[in-house]
């Protein structure tokens, strides 16, 4: 064929946009596919699916795997190969990766099974260099119109950005998993190095240099030998790095390969920046030669360097801090020595402080309340300090044995009552009862008054401190020669285990609720010492939660006392000034202490939380910090501090160590355990000096430790330093937070039970749940509803088990946004160990793939639909194929298609097959009728039950109805999909309808042109076209009855198949027929046909066998124009090939005239004419096929001709059916005899004569012939006599045909035979006897239309 321009058929590219235009521009005629106009339907369908898809696809077709692609593929993957690649062999387009993909494609073409690869690494050359790329793709087979594998379709999504992004992200995440914040520089570098070394894809090698005093020094390296020449800093241009700039360095020489198969060729030199200073150093990062150094890559290297720099900064700060703490510890130690040695020296300055302060407070002209308040503080704390100093002095005196007691006889009851009374107001302000039960004693007790005061005051102070409800009782009794003083409280009590140590010096009972944690721990020890100086004893009895009783026994008299210390003179009764400090101190424990606001100053304000149980200290700190411009919140204990910190995270917490409820160390631990406050810096204040104490504080996680007393300047400096240090130190955490928050993907952290404990802002953006609801325990609120969406719930449940159990993975699940709408997310996760707790946590990211999900769903649904449509041969067939696909897509109960074709009832198709309109419910019929009048392609969803849509059907309006399972909602996405599919379905049906019509046309054409409507007797034909759904092709057969009674026989084969070949064939056939009628000479006919063919496009090179047969004699004249030889099979099985008279195909010039040959067809021989489709097989010589055909005829030569034709077609058909047009023509000589004659006896002789002649032509011997004549004569006589008694003049038909070995006759009349009754008609009965005797087989078939007698006999050889 030819004459069809490339523009014809170009509409296949119409949907392709730019790519379509570029495809159109390809010189297709130079490719094996030929011009688009000649492409098979299957290729056209494939190309149009490809072009109309927005999913990246390419395909290869035909022997050279000619390359096609769509716009999405061009944009995503093809790069600079476009448009060069179009129409080229795929192996050329993807030469560089052919080793990877070639075998896959061949496997698809070989097996017909699709391949699947996820994230396959391929080195593409599409941007001027070999590029590391990742692709997820599937190759699926494409078949041509005959179902043969001729190509493949690749649906691909390129994952390069994702894969590389994840790899880099993993490195950054690993860097961020730094298990401790504070570490040495070397540890920081070693840790970072270990992480960087795990990504030798992006960082084939790294070299980290520090700027030391002596110049750059190599501090760490990964992926490169330490003695590599490039490890010398001199190798690198360091000036830019010193200025804080990055530089790209081209590498020459032998550099490491990293995880690649070729060495790095470039490195990026990045500075390790120090905030506000020259860089710490610089890092040289070897670059992946298979990736361009784009913004992303550069950013990644810079982030890595930034992280290393931050780690170095953090380590250096920590080291500085550590040195400071050590220095402080040394100082403290010195202080302690100093303190204990010369504490008495305090008394002088204290006195000099207290004196003037007393004086100042007493001045009547002191009007400024602020000054007075400050003076009160000074006074109170001066008293306290004095008391402490005194106590210490007492101890040192006691220890040194230098305590000078003066025992004088005192009225113990009165003295005690007096002392107790000064405590009354404090105790009552604490809302406790105070009972003083001191009846007069029979005799005085020798006491040192000052010491006794301390005993009583200490005990009362102690009772108040630990008692919150109930009261305090002090009692004096005389018992067995001794005075017994008891101090009883209803306080917290002392655990039994603690009682033995109760009086030990510096022993404090931990974790005891008290009004204040102030205290030296020497009060009770001093009491004991003092009581013992009096020769007395003190014991304690206590029950935790009930109270404590101290019992002191002092003997009457002075015998037990050193005489030199005893005086008989009564001491003064006045309460000494030593009382004040105790009372003052106790009062400060009670609520209601004034807190004076101080105006705030501007500056670098930080929010500082102050926690101290001492109101004075609290006030002091508050005033001090506010004066420095900080925002201060003050709380009285650790628990309150923790609550306040959780409520509003301060910049810094300044906390006392000793506090009731929750002490400083516990506070720090609690803060660190909570992720919200883990990073909040804490400055601990304590009076407890010593290295051990500070280490304890730091180990607990405190950031700094300040020992009382401290100067205001020092405190402020520490506060400032800690706020700044924390900012620096939190750089890592803030960097991480910023990084996570800046992620385009949602980020989350789950604990090992699956509760979500951390999220980023994208998380909130995507599914609407914010950090305020943390933690989110499973079942998370975004899970689909189990009731209404069990399928989604199941998917999420499975994904959740994966998340909890696997160490890493990915999944895509539906989730419910907080506002209720449904979306799809693709998540990937990893298990990591929480560096702080050592517990397993799950870190994951996800992104909203709703659009992609539905796009893919739509694409695949459309593709499935298209495939089914393209396979359908008729419009009803298409509906039958498509409805189940729709049912499956929506998991619907059923799908109904109703066509309103103008008939009485609409035609209904369902997934269960065709259904009557009446078979639908009244409601459904109504709904469908209403839908018909809705706008086309507009989905209408019912609240429950399903959705429908109207579309165009070739026969009228069609309504598609999807009947959903109950409760399954039909979402907006479903509606979009339904509209899309309905659109495709409408188009598809229309197209099939057109093809239907085309085929009808073609069939009509075939009927008109393929061959004669009526074959002469003795012929049988078969025709099988190659191109489905067309039933015509380029082959033909013809018989022409010529004027002289001879029969022209033609079998021909035009190039190609399909409709176009058929049109050529039709014209050739007609021309040949006309020429034959005119010439009656095969060679002349073919010569004339040559001239005709040269005028007819597509007719060149057609092959034709043309013969003229004399049916009477079997004489055959024939000529062949390049056609395979006819085969004659003799009755005895011998075979002749009619291979004479051969010449070139039609239209091919030749100098010699076309030859002609003659042949006489022997009797009962079978002539086989055919086209090469019958015999041609790949990888087999044509002669083999011809021999097989001859053998097939030989085998079945005893069969009737029609049966023989079927046998030959069936036995020659390849397993997969004929893949080329096949025409077959059989003639058996002689042709059968067919005679119709009136049912009159006078006709019998003529008929007999004809039969006798025919039998002679068949070569039947005279005896057999006579037998046949007799049997047939009897049958005819019966027909005349019985069949037509009521219908004289009716016709009788005699038909006789021969096979190789048998004769078959039928005598048919149109009447009814009576059952033969030999008695009534003896000679007719005799007639039957004759028939049966003469013939091998006699059958009588009587039907409504008449009677048929069948006679058969074997022909003797």
């Amino acid at each position: 064929m030819g004459g069809v321009g490339p523009a014809a058929g170009a509409e296949v590219f119409a949907t392709g946009g730019d790519v379509g235009r570029d495809l159109m521009a390809v010189a297709w005629e130079e490719t094996p596919l030929g011009p688009p106009g000649q492409w098979p339907q299957s290729l056209r369908t494939a190309v149009s699916i490809l072009l109309s898809s927005r999913f990246p696809m390419w395909m290869a077709w035909g022997p050279q795997l000619t390359f096609f692609c769509n716009a999405a593929y061009r944009d995503d993957t093809l790069g600079s190969k476009y448009p060069w690649a179009l129409g080229r062999p795929a192996g050329e387009v993807w030469r560089e990766i052919w080793d990877d993909i070639g075998p896959r494609i061949l496997s698809v073409l070989d097996t017909g099974n699709a391949t699947w690869d996820q994230g396959l690494l391929l080195f593409l050359e599409r941007s001027g260099y070999r590029e590391e790329t990742y692709h997820t793709f599937s190759y699926s087979p494409l078949r041509d119109d005959d179902g043969a594998l001729v190509g493949m379709l690749c649906v691909v999504s390129e994952d390069t950005v994702q894969v590389i992004g994840e790899r880099r992200m993993a490195t950054l995440r690993d860097l961020g998993s730094d298990p401790t914040v504070i570490r040495t520089e070397d540890q920081v570098l070693a840790f970072a190095g270990a992480q960087l070394d795990r990504n030798r894809h992006d960082l084939p090698f790294t070299l980290t240099y520090m700027f030391d005093e002596g110049g750059p020094r190599l501090a760490a390296s990964t992926g490169i030998a330490a003695d590599h020449p490039a490890s010398d800093p001199a190798w690198w241009p360091t000036e830019a790095a010193a200025r804080g700039e990055s530089t790209v360095v081209d590498l020459e020489g032998d550099f490491p390969y990293g995880d690649w198969h070729e060495p790095a060729t470039q490195a990026l030199l990045v500075p390790l920046l120090q905030p506000g200073g020259i860089p710490y150093g610089f890092m040289v990062a070897g670059l992946n030669r298979f990736r361009a150094l784009d913004d992303g890559y550069r950013g990644f290297v810079e982030l890595v360097a930034g992280h290393v720099a931050a780690g170095i900064g953090s380590a250096r700060s920590y080291q500085a801090q550590q040195r400071r703490a050590e220095e402080l510890a040394e100082l403290d130690s010195a202080k302690t020595v100093f303190f204990s040695n010369i504490s008495h020296e305090f008394r002088t300055p204290l006195t000099l402080i207290m004196g003037p302060v007393e004086e100042l407070r007493g001045r009547p002209d002191l009007a400024d309340d602020g000054v007075r308040a400050e003076l009160d503080v000074i006074h109170r704390n001066g008293l306290r300090l004095g008391k402490l100093v005194n106590t210490l002095l007492d101890f040192s005196r006691i220890e040194a044995g230098r305590m000078q007691a003066q025992f004088s006889p005192l009225d113990l009851a009165a003295t005690t009552t007096e002392l107790a009374s000064v405590f009354r107001s404090a105790i009552e302000r604490a809302e406790l009862t105070f009972e003083v039960d001191c009846p007069p004693l029979p005799q005085p007790v020798y006491l040192d008054r000052g010491m006794w005061e301390k005993v009583v005051l200490n005990l009362l102070s102690n009772a108040l401190k630990f008692t919150f409800t109930g009261g305090v009782r002090i009692a004096v009794r005389a018992e067995a020669g001794a005075a017994v003083v008891t101090v009883t409280d209803t306080g917290v009590g002392v655990p039994a285990a603690e009682l033995p140590q109760l009086f030990e010096r510096f022993h404090r009972i931990e974790n005891t609720r008290s009004r204040s944690n102030e205290g030296s721990g020497i009060g009770l020890a001093l009491v004991k010492e003092l009581v013992e100086l009096h020769g007395g004893t003190i014991t304690a009895a206590s029950e935790p939660g009930r109270g404590t009783t101290f019992t002191i026994r002092l003997r009457f008299g002075a015998e037990h006392l050193p005489p030199e210390s005893v005086t008989t003179q009564g001491a003064g009764a006045a309460v000494s000034s030593a009382v004040d400090p105790y009372v003052e101190e106790a009062l400060r424990w009670l609520p209601g202490a004034p807190e004076e606001p101080v105006p705030e100053r501007t500056g670098h304000p930080a929010t500082v939380l102050v926690a101290d149980d001492n109101a004075d200290m609290r006030d002091y700190l508050t005033r001090l910090l506010r004066s420095a411009g900080h925002h201060v919140q003050a709380v009285p204990d650790g628990q309150a501090a923790l609550e306040a910190a959780r409520l509003r995270n301060p910049d810094l917490i300044v906390s006392d160590v000793m506090m009731p409820r929750l002490d400083g160390l516990q506070l720090v631990a609690a803060l660190r355990a909570d992720s919200r406050t883990a990073g909040t810096p804490v400055l601990l204040l304590s009076a407890r000096a010593g290295q051990e104490a500070s280490i304890e504080g730091l180990e607990a996680g405190a950031d700094d430790y300040l020992v009382k007393p401290f100067s205001s300047a020092e405190l402020l400096a520490r506060v400032r330093a800690n706020v700044e240090l924390s900012r620096l130190r939190n750089h890592h955490a803030r960097w991480r937070t910023a990084l996570i928050d800046s992620l385009q993907e949602a980020f989350f952290v789950c604990d090992e039970d699956g509760a979500v404990i951390e999220i980023n802002s994208t998380f909130t953006d995507v599914i609407g749940y914010g950090p305020e609801g943390l933690p989110y325990a499973p079942i998370h609120p975004w899970w689909p509803d189990q009731e209404s969406d069990p399928e989604g719930f199941q998917q999420v449940t499975e994904a959740f088990s994966l998340l909890i159990e696997a160490t890493q993975g990915t999944y895509t699940i539906p989730v419910k946004h907080r506002d209720g709408h449904r979306l799809w997310v693709a998540a990937s996760f990893n298990q990591v160990e929480d560096p702080d707790t050592g517990r397993r946590v799950i870190v994951g990211t996800f992104r909203d793939v709703t659009a992609e999900h539905y796009a893919v769903q739509r694409e695949s649904a459309v593709a499935r639909l298209s495939v089914r449509l393209s396979q359908a041969e008729s419009v009803p067939g298409a509906l039958t194929a498509v409805l189940p696909a729709l049912k499956e897509l929506w998991q619907a109960n059923r799908v109904i298609a109703t066509v309103f074709n103008g008939g009485a009832d609409p035609t209904v198709y369902t997934t269960e097959g065709p259904a009557p309109w009446d078979g639908l419910s009244e409601n459904r019929r109504h709904a469908l009728t209403v839908l018909r009048d809705e706008p086309l392609l507009t989905p209408v969803a019912e609240r429950a039950g399903g959705a429908g849509i109207a579309l165009e059907h070739p026969d009228g309006a069609m309504v598609l109805w999807v009947e959903l399972a109950e409760k399954r909602p039909f979402t907006e996405q479903d509606q979009t999909l339904l509209a899309l599919l309905a659109g495709h379905l409408g188009q598809g049906l229309h197209r099939i309808h057109q093809i239907d019509q085309q085929r009808e046309t073609a069939l009509a054409l075939q009927r008109a042109i393929l061959g004669p409507a009526q074959l002469p007797a003795g012929f049988a034909v078969r025709y099988s076209p190659a191109t489905r759904p067309l039933k015509v092709g380029g082959d033909w057969y013809d018989t022409v009855t010529l004027a002289d009674g001879r029969i022209g026989i033609v079998v021909g084969d035009c190039v190609g198949h399909g409709l176009q070949a058929a049109t050529v064939m039709g014209q050739l056939r007609s021309a040949c027929r006309a020429l034959l009628l005119q010439n009656t000479d095969p060679a002349q006919t073919l010569t004339a046909l040559d001239r005709f063919a040269s005028q007819l496009p597509g007719a060149m090179c057609a092959t034709v066998f043309c013969g003229v047969l004399d049916p009477a004699s079997g004489e055959l004249t024939y000529a062949s124009a390049g056609h395979p030889p006819a085969v004659v099979t003799h009755a005895d099985g011998a075979t002749d090939l009619l291979d004479q008279g051969r010449s070139r195909p039609l239209g091919v010039r030749s100098a010699t005239a076309r030859p002609e040959a003659r042949y006489r067809v022997p009797v009962r021989a079978t002539l086989l004419l055919y086209t090469d489709g019958l015999v041609e097989r790949r990888r087999q010589p044509l002669t083999a096929g011809i021999q097989r055909a001859a053998a097939a005829v030989q085998q079945a030569r005893s069969a009737a001709l029609e049966d023989l034709a079927s046998v030959v077609m069936d036995s020659m058909a390849p397993e997969t059916g004929y893949d080329d047009d096949v025409a077959l023509l059989l003639y058996r000589h002689p042709g059968p005899l067919e005679v119709d004659f009136p049912a009159e006896a006078t006709r019998l002789a003529t008929v007999r004569s004809m039969l006798r002649g025919w039998l002679a032509r068949c070569g039947v011997d005279s005896l057999t012939a006579q037998n046949v004549l007799v049997a047939a004569g009897e049958a005819c006589a019966n027909a005349i006599e019985h069949g037509h008694r009521q219908l004289p003049g009716g016709l009788i038909r005699l038909r006789a045909a021969a096979t190789a070995h048998d004769l078959h006759l039928t005598i048919t009349d149109s009447g009814l035979w009576k059952t033969p009754q030999p008695a009534a008609n003896p000679h007719r009965g005799r007639g039957f006897t004759l028939m049966r005797a003469m013939m091998t087989e006699v059958t009588v078939t009587t039907g409504a239309a008449g009677t048929i007698v069948g006679l058969q006999t074997r022909i003797p050889r």
Partner: protein
């Protein structure tokens, strides 16, 4: 065309009555054949011979005409008719030519 049949009564050299049939005998002319047989037997007044050697075809109607006369009848036949006459049970009164 009606079936060609010539019936000629006569005598053989021995003087016996002979009916010589030439042509074909079928239902269209079996009545004439039967009539000729009846006439011939009456003329012969006893045994007579029917010469069928020039008959190319005889069907059951023709045979039916022969049966009433079997007791008085001799048949001369050719090989072609032998199967029919044999099947009809007339072979015992028939003289066939020597097989060639």
């Amino acid at each position: 065309m009606s079936t060609p049949l010539t019936l000629t009564p006569g005598r053989d050299p021995s003087g016996a009555v002979v009916l010589t049939a030439v042509g074909e005998i079928d239902m269209s002319n079996s009545a004439s054949f039967a009539a000729a047989l009846t006439d011939t037997q009456r003329d012969a007044g006893g045994q007579f011979t029917v010469d069928l050697t020039a008959v190319e075809y005889i069907d059951s109607a023709g045979l039916a005409a022969l049966f009433p006369h079997v007791d008085h009848l001799r048949l001369l036949s050719n090989q072609l008719l032998a199967p029919v006459l044999t099947i009809a049970g007339l072979d015992d009164i028939t003289t066939f030519p020597e097989a060639s």
